[in-house]
């Protein structure tokens, strides 16, 4: 396993989301003119692209693509990520050993040296999430009915995105360490896929102009540069037979 200081390592890319670098974007923010900016979808798309490129480099396979977890139909953690051992060997998609250190605001030195854990469905089930989404009319089919990017982004984030983090539980319920759990990536890939479908229906460029030229830190690209997945050389299959 590569260390945090190797910038191609899983430890490194996971540390860019929450602890230690804390670059991730979730809630809307305001720019210096007071305009609301929504970077949740753009930031995570850039993050997934970087991760996928690193996987392709590590595997020497340019066709390797991130899988996505369609939680509305596969209502539990997919087997590939839920099975602890494969052929007698620990499954690297089941958990990850976090190892890093830092200091709390009170000055306490903290050394994190533990495996990621999950408490799947202990508080929020996918059935419950599905009910909330339908009840509040923010289920995925409802999301495609709006052509307002901000409304789409917030409704997707607040129910299914936040809810699946809570459903998996453990590290996934904490943004500081969520990206250390390998299930983080297929979850966010599905979020990205839903955005891509929405873009087909409502326009690739359908995002407020004042957001487009914001630089997504630390990736060195603007929101505009991650809008078109075809230009980014990837796409989502419309159906999968396995």
């Amino acid at each position: 396993m590569m260390s945090r200081i190797d910038n191609r390592s899983f430890q490194y890319i996971a540390s860019q989301h929450g602890w230690i670098d804390e670059y991730c974007k979730h809630e809307p923010e305001r720019d210096d003119l007071g305009r609301i900016i929504h970077l949740f979808l753009g930031w995570h798309r850039a993050y997934l692209i970087k991760f996928e490129r690193l996987l392709q480099m590590a595997s020497n396979d340019a066709t390797l693509g991130l899988p996505w977890w369609t939680w509305r139909s596969t209502r539990t953690v997919p087997d590939a990520y839920a099975i602890e051992f494969v052929d007698g060997q620990p499954n690297p998609l089941f958990k990850f050993h976090m190892k890093f250190s830092g200091r709390t605001p009170s000055g306490q030195e903290v050394n994190v040296d533990k495996d990621t854990e999950r408490s799947v469905g202990s508080a929020i089930s996918i059935e419950r999430l599905s009910f909330i989404a339908r009840f509040t009319r923010r289920d995925v089919p409802d999301l495609y009915n709006t052509n307002d990017f901000r409304q789409f982004s917030e409704n997707l984030r607040n129910v299914w995105h936040n809810g699946i983090h809570g459903f998996v539980g453990g590290e996934m319920s904490d943004p500081n360490v969520a990206a250390y759990d390998p299930i983080f990536y297929p979850h966010h890939c599905n979020i990205d896929r839903i955005w891509a479908i929405w873009q087909v229906q409502h326009g690739v460029d359908n995002i407020p102009n004042h957001i487009k030229d914001i630089i997504l830190i630390p990736f060195g690209v603007t929101v505009r540069q991650v809008l078109d997945i075809n230009a980014l050389n990837y796409e989502y299959a419309s159906s999968v037979i396995s």
């Binding site: 602890w19 670059y23 909330i132 509040t136 009319r137």
Partner: protein, 182 residues
């Protein structure tokens, strides 16, 4: 690909296992009374939103179940309109803080030159409750709003004592109605 032959009356898709719920309930929070100044429920608005301002992100993630005019609601209260339930919002908690002194201070405004605004800053949560409000407003035009949190146990990585009780915090709650003229 050949489709699998389906025998009559046989379930092909396995039924999901029953969900075993182990709720952790924090303290429910009830607002003061809000009055709805609407005469004709069907005509005077086409959409109603419930907005919570300055919702704080504490350590744990939680589902906030929102009830109108049911101040005794708790985590076991049925989530249907007859019990005043109008929807839930889900907070992706912040977890505990790691960083130098001041790193996790919450600032109301984005600071100058701050390229990475503080993720702890409170935010607005909005729920559209049009149909639910029209139904409930037939009984009363005054409402209290109760939020009951269903708390997700945070990972054991937290090094501070986690307050699982007082997770629902906001500065103000409003009901906004929209009429067809605006």
């Amino acid at each position: 690909m050949k489709a699998a032959k389906r025998s009559k009356g046989k379930r092909i898709t396995p039924k999901p296992e029953p969900y075993k719920m182990k709720p952790i309930q924090g303290k429910c929070v009830t607002s003061g009374k809000l009055s709805l100044n609407i005469k004709d429920l069907e005509k005077d608005f086409y959409r109603a939103d419930l907005e919570f301002y300055d919702v704080e992100k504490g350590v744990p993630s939680y589902e906030g179940r929102v009830f109108l005019n049911n101040p005794t609601a708790d985590i076991n209260t049925p989530t249907d309109v007859d019990h005043g339930y109008v929807g839930s919002y889900i907070v992706f908690g912040h977890g505990s803080c790691l960083g130098d002194a001041g790193h996790c201070n919450v600032h109301a405004q984005r600071e100058k030159y701050d390229l990475i605004p503080n993720a702890l800053r409170p935010y607005t949560v909005s729920l559209t409750i049009t149909d639910q409000l029209k139904k409930l407003a037939k009984k009363s035009k005054e409402f209290t709003i109760t939020v009951c949190p269903n708390v997700v146990k945070p990972p054991t990585i937290n090094h501070e004592e986690v307050d699982m009780e007082n997770v629902v915090k906001y500065s103000k709650v409003s009901i906004l109605t929209y009429d067809k003229e605006s």
